[in-house]
Amino acid sequence: MSNEWPLWEVFIRGQHGLSHRHVGSLHASDAEHALQNARDVYTRRKEGVSIWVVPAADITASAPEDKGSFYDPADDKVYRHPTFFDIPDDVGAM
């Protein structure tokens, strides 16, 4: 529908030290309005300490049909995982 507000994607940082995570989308007339709507729709239960909103039209996404060329080549390259190293115990959780 042409008279709908533009679509925005919403990213929220749950707590200090974690990165913003995509939580969903919403409609809003401009960026400030999108922030307010995101606050009302996605942080009602103390989900976040920081909000990013991005016009959905400005996001360039990979296409599902590229799956073969994009992701399959990584299937047989287990050596890219750092699982062949012994980690000293006193390093702690990584």
Binding site: W5, L26, H27, A28, S29, E32, H33, Q36, N37, R39, D40, V41, R44
Partner: protein, 240 residues
């Protein structure tokens, strides 16, 4: 310490919270629907605090629920503005903007109140209402300076509601702060917002009175209370 003054604050938030909750499921956009429901819940939460304190100070064995559900229209001490019907979204948001602007000024003053309970409630509520005012201000600007249709609706909403502005600043001894002193900050914010919204402030400052004193509520309050109170009055021990 004025129980009457506490009732005025709690009845404002109760009546407006009830009014706003009627939009749930009906607002023009999903996001606005959720936002209005959030604001309604903020106001009902503030009501529990104000009426709870009023009941405690009154000391007659009543609680916030008794005051909300078992008083009649003439016992209510809310402003006439908040009992005005929702009508269209423009009227609802203009009513919200005018109330929020007064409410934020009143709560800001009350954060300094000598009574620690009153000041504590005001300090909690002022954070919520800061956001309410930001949101309703932006909506008034967006719709006022929007399409010809939205502009006309916002101007007619302003014309319709302006006669209810004056009562907010009619101060007497029962008020917990000097309401007349809030007129200047109110005017500053309203004038700036209306200019940006391309809306014209009505010439007449005629004001309907009688809500906060309980002397003369409009006919709308009784109808609203009938809906709001029917369940607890029909089933007094009902739990839900």
């Amino acid at each position: 310490m004025s129980v009457e003054g506490l009732l005025r604050l709690g009845d404002n938030t109760l009546v407006l919270g009830q009014r706003l909750s009627a939009w749930c499921g009906h607002a023009p956009a999903l996001e606005e629907d959720i936002a209005l429901a959030n604001i309604a819940l903020d106001l009902i939460g503030q009501t529990q605090l104000w009426l709870g304190l009023a009941a405690a100070r009154e000391g007659q064995g009543r609680d916030a629920d008794t005051l909300a559900f078992h008083r009649d229209a003439w016992d209510f001490r809310n402003l006439l503005l908040v009992e005005q019907p929702n009508r269209d979204f423009g009227v609802t948001m203009m009513r919200q903007f005018l109330f929020d602007t007064w409410h934020l000024a009143a709560l800001t003053a009350l954060t300094e109140h000598a009574d620690a309970d009153i000041s504590a409630i005001a300090q909690k509520a002022v954070k919520e209402v800061t956001y309410h005012r930001e949101r309703s201000t932006d909506t008034v600007i967006a719709l006022g300076d929007g399409t010809e249709e939205s502009h006309n609706r916002m101007q007619s909403a302003l014309d319709r509601l302006w006669p209810y502005v004056g009562e907010m600043f009619a101060s007497d001894d029962a008020d917990l702060t000097n309401m007349a002193a809030l007129r200047a900050p109110f005017d500053t914010h309203v004038t700036a917002t209306l200019a940006e919204a391309t809306l014209v402030r009505p010439d007449s400052d005629f004001a309907h009175m009688g809500g906060k004193t309980g002397v003369r509520h409009s006919e709308h309050l009784g109808h609203m209370l009938a809906t709001m109170q029917v369940l607890p009055r029909s089933y007094p021990d009902a739990k839900w």
